[in-house]
Symmetry: D2
């Protein structure tokens, strides 16, 4: 999270998706540590495309390379990898906003503490970072970034405990929010997951090397073995002596973010023993159980809706077709020089497959609706290509509440479902019918009998409004905005 | 085609696909000509990713911008588009080789003839360009590129006819091979297709503007209407007076390249009234008619095998699953710094969806086998992820012969099917069974009763060895290699 | 010379100097040919700062690297030099204009002739290139640049003679103007000077390597021995058999450009046995003989006026002081964002040495006045710093006529002396008195008794209006401007 | 000073000069603050060529642009200047080392204190920064750079005083060394000079704007009026109410660095009422008074020795000639690819003016000898060009001791005069005779009767070994080197 920008919301119409804040990766005891970190970050690229960074440690010095853009555009040359020597490395992918990213805000962050150097990569968002920061600045601390992650480092630096692990425990007792952290010191690789386990973190092994990563697909890419998920509230400390697990918090049930299943994680990643693809197919199956529509074919918004569409097709026995073709070369913003060109209805990312669509009744499957802008565009496209009817089915409930734990949700007033009934949404998007999966349908698809209202098994406030952690900084934001923006305007 | 490199063959293991030489686009009479050309080239990006160029004409001057890399990375800023003023523009995408592309070889080419400027973009390959070039160099012509396309311009420049169209006709009677051409003069936009119509070219209309493009998907992206395909041997001349069609060659049946259906064209492009997606589904259906395998699921090599897999699933009633997940961020070569890392079996582009694959009998669908290297990698990957059986089915016949009309096929000795029986190929790839669609199956799927052996309806020599045009330069290549390579080594 | 821009004149006020078109260099038979060429071009940097290029030949292939900007910014890395293998190389510096240079126009030019490759670097300007070009384009030749140098290559390519030297002789009998040429073929290094020897070219030797260069300072930088100047109208052919001298033209007296002595050549270069510094000191001595002014000190416009000022001081016995300090870091155009800033009298390049100037009568020495803009600025600066009197003395006659043989003179209407009497110029510049060296003073300083009016010993038309060669293209320029500008607007 | 590199010494043979650490500039209340700062830094470019940075404040936010390289290459475009809005700006030039500069180490530094933002630019070097830093890191402070300047900011941030000026006074009472500082807060522009006034700082005025700069030449370039020098130990606070002077230290005599006169400052800058050029001419005159040599001519190592040579010539009546020509395009390191090329005696920067030198007895004037490498090269060059005798005279005493207050002197064992007698130096350099100006000669030339041994009027320890401030960090350096180098190896 960028503290000075809590309310900043991207408004790109072309890419109306929620944004994950980051992917993180760390590896201990491998002579190609930086190269494997680059590969791991590449596998996690879907979690953040704005910028990427790698820090390494060679037993004596720390090294750092940070770049704007994709891993595959920045960390592919021997020349760059050679700038990151050592057997230990951590890395970070940052998500894409429309503004210019500030190089200083690219992680991993490094600090030269009295005990030695420490490097840190963070996925998630703290909910009391501004409060803590304010207090520390009053005491003379100098912050170099606008990131909540720096608050963690400053707390570690100021901790009066003598051992690094104790300083870290000191620190995580002070911060609140969703976080998965990978840290590297001159002796250790450390992985931490917040008390609710909101953001994901897994442990892997490659011969005698240990790996920490946001998802298992980052283990697959380098042929590493998946050991287990880091538990909620767990600290894993990897040294040459092996792995140690520390659980400083009182035991409580995990409550991982439901969007990792529905939306963020790669379909081939494994969570809790099943591939995310299977969970998503299940979501489609549940949806077909809840909804009955007469149609000629099922199509999906590629590629996000594909698994649910296949699941829906399986249950409903309606055939699945590629009704919309995706241009694989999209990825950068494209010029639309004039209003006239815009009005041509330029189809940069998706093109209707006219031959399949014409005169057909279509069920269009997608995983979610955020602002609804993309949905409307695609539905218009289908009707313009001759579709007879378009029914939209969504494999998750309506998103009505913003996130504060590491997902970049738009402002509440931009969230379609927060401001409109399903009937209104249907009209806005322009479909014949519109159906969302029920919240219990979600829990069933994900392997539970139903949602436990007293202790929900997932962090699902975007659907339910039930926030596991209070967003404390929210009320502080207004008065602090000016002072903090001073820093955020210092570009280097 | 790059003359000095006729036998150059890329050997990238990671991307074992045939390569189209190019995509071309032209627009006449639109005030945003260059911007629309950029959009059109973007839609044709799959036909060439190495480099792209646009030329425009503003009624007085010609302008040119040429860049290495993707259209979306190079022609998206107003600043670049503003360097290309005028109501007429043509553009060109060039395919990707492993060598460094020479800027001078990026099309469109421009020449300042006595009659005025002419700009040209070419998809295809001439089979007698070296012969002609040798003769012209002896007569004092100075060639600036190693491209066969320059031979066309030089012939036009030296033609003794007085009108530009006559000079062009003079020229196309001298050259042989496969070509679709778009040319721009200070008055005209001209489209030409070779006598067999090997390479594609379509005509579109956007209000009062005319468009020429390799495929209809380039019309869709700008909302233009598809008028018709340019016929084989046809010259279309667009001026402010309208369109004129010239057919200088004796009438003969068209014989378009079969790979446009199977392989190159985008699934949403329309050829002969049907979407390419439908042709490919038909290929899968025909394959399921020819082959009967007992299996738990059908999966495809994404995304090339997807439509045929869906067609195969429809006929065979075996369910279609996403057994392999594609990383959408691949596109650049990735570092593999050491032999050890390579041996980890790095999965940059495809990752098995283990949950779906484990203990299953799988039918794996792909559209073709070139060298077989990718097929082997993917099959290994499936077995390593626990597949019980992998059967491979290919929605086209074995590729046994090289192309000389604009497709970059590998050396014959690298073509798997040119050197091995199906039984041997099965063992090399490591599958339980291996099946190819028959040549008549292809013709059926594409709408014919069967292949007409006397006058084949498609250019299909890669499967059959029957070349419609003799590759004359082939025998000249050896002695000329040295002298021509002088030029190819001059980098600017 | 850029044909399409014959009348283009730079109007930079900050740098009111005549511009040399280029510096050229070639070396035969040295294993570090490209590196030594880079050093030689660096020593010749004063002759052209816009762009630089090197071509090399390794016995089999030709190589080329061309860059905008200075040699020292572009040809200093091993990586670049390694792209230019071979024992033979030629190079070229191009002068600086305000417009964007076109990469294609950067020399050396290369062409792949029937006999083999040829590379060419040219200092000077042809006066009938447009005429020849027009004729050749009509015959079907395709020109790739807007440079008159390409005319030379095209003539060589079309010559019906069979040997390369004969083709070259054929060519130089057709072109007119001022030229020093260095050419490289797969066997030879060739140097040529026009029949009048207007532009300079010298021959050097470094162990068993031969060198051709515009000035001797390019021999000094690599420790090579100066052998002799190439004679007017001479062709020098260097092969592994040694040096051959060919003099195809009827013998005539040389008539080198007087500005090489006064203005262009580096002070440490040797012409006709003496250093250019000594010639310039002599010009200052002659000036002191012609002019008598009572003053406290002599100062110069650094660094162009320094040698003449020292000579003037020596004869006049008035002490020489550094009254103006030059900022060595100037070299790029500097922003002057607002009119207000401009009016502050920003002193980017020169700053008055107030302590020396205040209350003094000053003789200010410079080597020439072109537009007079810089002179005025400097004189104003001196008065603003408290000078009591400023007398300006110029070590050459008034420049009244433009050049067509390789010097970029401004439009006649911008040449101060072409439009004003000395009395008027004195007022415009704002000096107490203004004196120019007489034309006979110049001839005396350069070692002649006086100017031979029948056969002037120097090309001195800028002072006298007596042009040795008629500028034929001048009258063709107007009608051709449009057609040629087509090409000049094609940027790659 | 870069703390982690106290003993780092550049060993470039080509550029054997002492290095100033920096030039600084600040302007208050001008709408073109950043543009004028760029111009000011350009005038101060001789004080540092490695990197440059500008910070501005627009009444609300701070802005920062930092770049490697020259001001004229980086701050000339409107686009860059527009990134630096506001009426107040400060800037910094950093000197050139051979290592890669770290962007984070480029000044001005910015910190977001509790009171608001503060920006700081520093010329000089603290002698107890490591000690203070060590203590602060133990207390939990996180340093982001390896620069001693950050120690100043951290001390300000931690000061318990409430007003910013009091925090600053708190700070300067803790640090020791040579420093001139320019600071910018959201209300003030502040200039500070250390108690001895070792490093220079002047005050200027441009209409209603105030300016702080290292030298008066930075006032001249923008047409500003020179008001006065900041006094030793003085704090000048500029607000919209005007200027306030604070002198927190006990009064003591100033003791400015003698090298500003001899060596660093631009000849046109004014110190103590006289131009630096005049001081240097005086040094040459004193030298001619002390030394008597029979010779044909006086020449200088350009441009450093020019003023002294002119002064020497005036007194000795021996004529001054340009015996060595400097290439104005040098400034970057040039390739010397092979040992053979090196042995050619490549003359990148200086070339002998052979015509003037041959058979002459020459007095060669320079301002100092550091390692002697350049001197030896130049003397060899003169002899190789035919000089009969070369006598070297130096307009300052032998440099025997290193500096710790902001000059980058080489290691003592590399300082020629620290290790050799004058007789030995004469032999090493290869001159007929070698003479240095006496220390009293220096004081006379600079306007004093003689050096006051009890209270020297200048900081002159490089000649005398008398250090005004003890270099405390020196003994701390060894143990700290490793830990600090961790940070210095983190590149961003």
């Amino acid at each position: 999270m960028t503290i000075g920008k809590l309310y900043y919301k991207s408004t790109s119409v072309l890419d109306d998706r929620l944004k994950e804040e980051c992917g993180i990766f760390g590896i201990y005891n491998h002579k190609d540590a930086a190269a494997l970190t680059a590969l791991g970050l590449h596998a996690l690229q879907h979690r953040g495309q704005e910028a990427c960074g790698i820090n390494s440690f060679d037993g004596k010095n720390f090294y750092s390379v940070k770049r704007r853009g994709l891993v595959g555009d920045n960390f592919t040359s021997k020349k760059i990898i050679d700038q990151l020597p050592g057997n230990c490395a951590i890395g970070h992918n940052r998500y894409s906003t429309t503004g210019l990213p500030i190089i200083r805000n690219i992680q991993p962050f490094f600090a030269d503490l009295h005990l030695g150097g420490i490097s840190i990569a963070h996925n998630g968002n703290l909910t009391n970072a501004i409060q803590i920061r304010d207090r520390m600045v009053k005491d003379g601390a100098i912050f170099q970034t606008t990131s909540d992650t720096e608050t963690i480092i400053q707390l570690i630096a100021k901790s009066k405990r003598t051992k690094i692990i104790d300083k870290i425990i000191d620190t995580i007792f002070q911060v609140q929010g969703g976080y998965a952290l990978v840290m590297m010191t001159n002796k250790k690789l450390i992985g931490i997951r917040d008390p609710f386990g909101i953001r994901p973190l897994v442990l892997g092994k490659l011969n005698s090397s240990y790996i920490l990563a946001s998802e298992t697909c980052a283990l697959d890419i380098i042929g590493a073995e998946f050991i287990r998920e880091i538990e909620n509230g767990e600290i894993v400390v990897i040294t040459k002596e092996g792995i140690e697990s520390i659980k400083p918090f009182p035991k409580k049930e995990a409550r991982p973010c439901v969007f990792e299943y529905i939306y963020f994680s790669r379909p081939d990643s494994i969570i809790n023993g099943k591939s995310v693809y299977e969970y998503r197919k299940n979501l489609g199956r549940e949806l077909a159980n809840e909804v009955s529509i007469e149609a000629d074919l099922i199509s999906s918004v590629p590629d996000s809706g594909n698994p649910a569409a296949i699941g829906f097709s399986e249950v409903s026995k309606i055939s699945y077709e590629m009704g919309i073709i995706r241009n694989h070369y999209v990825g950068r913003t494209f010029i639309e020089p004039t209003q006239e060109i815009r009005q041509l209805g330029v189809k940069l990312k998706h093109n209707p497959n006219k031959g399949v669509i014409k005169n057909k009744k279509i069920i269009l499957v997608d995983d979610s609706i955020v602002r609804g802008t993309t949905s409307k565009k695609i539905v218009d496209m289908l009707y313009n290509s001759g579709a007879k009817e378009v029914h939209m089915v969504i494999s998750s409930p309506p998103i009505k509440y913003p996130d504060y734990y590491g997902i970049d949700t738009p402002d509440v007033k931009e969230l379609l479902a927060a401001n409109h009934s399903i009937e209104e949404m249907k009209k806005i998007i322009g479909v014949k019918s519109l159906h969302f999966l029920s919240i219990d349908g979600v829990y069933k698809a994900l392997g539970h009998k139903k949602r436990d209202a007293a202790n929900p098994q997932f962090t699902d406030h975007c659907f339910t409004g039930e926030y596991p952690i209070k967003p404390l900084d929210l009320k502080n934001q207004n008065d602090k905005d000016n002072q903090l923006s001073l820093l955020s305007n210092v570009r280097t």
